[in-house]
Symmetry: C2
Subunit: 134 residues, 2 copies
DNA sequence: GTTAAAGTTGATATTTTTTATCCACATTAA
DNA sequence: TTAATGTGGATAAAAAATATCAACTTTAAC
């Protein structure tokens, strides 16, 4: 019932990027040093963020990572989903999975509501809001 | 970000018990057969529920497990907490842990709110409500 | 009293997931 | 041309979750 450490790495990375002037690049190496995250592991994390469309990357000398869209359009839920996949507090609630018991299962509606509430909160504030507060 | 299978076992067990006339015993063995849960693993799960004050147990022949309080006073949140400990979607939010960054950390308030929303939903309906629906 | 049914407890094994490391490669700006 | 950087895949190490085993205690039933 916890976020993985990798999600936390991703959040911290996104906060670093969002604090920069929009469009500016920061290398994984620098991020890993500033945030004390294992460099090679962070690289993969950044790659996941990239696949999720949250950051774009630039190879080569002076390359790095930058936000792929405005910080106003990014929320914690987006970041977590990019790393861990769609948030599902129970396998039965994962998209694409149809549980055979679902019709009679009295638990699943409650979990569904709980999950929706969780998600709603994670979407309430944008990355931009977070940076302002810090 | 998921409930463990053990929590699911616990929920299914509690539903079995709540379906019984109040105070009636059911042995771990029978529950494990009905719900297709490894018996020895279920025994430990039941023990956790017992430590959490949700069920009481009776040793010896004809012994078993029964609800320790009315199904109206038990929610999913209680069950999960008995198995996994206090629900914390992030280590920083675990009771007793004081994160040194908490003062400046912009993420923690959001996670705290998300966690509260999750918990509220998990507490909204009682075990008794669930049994009625099934 | 004996016995068999049950919960208790702790050790250990297995499996799965998460985290970390390593390295060969592709791209690109300087 | 070269050094900095992301890409991608393999592998290892660590941690957590799940499962199994076995010796023990309690207790109702006979
Ligand atoms: S068991 Fe799958 S929905 Fe409840
Ligand atoms: S890092 Fe602990 S509260 Fe944010």
């Amino acid at each position: 019932m916890q976020l993985t450490r990798q999600s936390e790495y991703a959040i911290r990375t996104m906060l670093e990027l969002a604090a920069l002037p929009y469009g500016e690049l920061l290398s994984s190496k620098v991020i890993s040093q500033r945030q004390d995250i294992p460099e090679d592991f962070l690289k993969k994390t950044v790659h996941l963020l990239s696949l999720g469309g949250l950051v774009s990357t630039q190879r080569g000398t002076q390359g790095g990572v930058r936000l792929a869209k405005a910080a106003e359009q990014i929320t914690l839920a987006h970041i977590v989903a990019a790393i861990e996949g769609p948030i599902a507090i129970n396998p039965c609630l994962a998209p694409g999975y149809f549980c055979p018991n679902q019709v009679t299962c009295p638990v699943s509606p409650i979990l569904a509501r709980a999950q929706a509430a969780l998600l709603a909160e994670l979407n309430k504030q944008t990355l931009a809001d977070l940076v302002k507060q810090a």
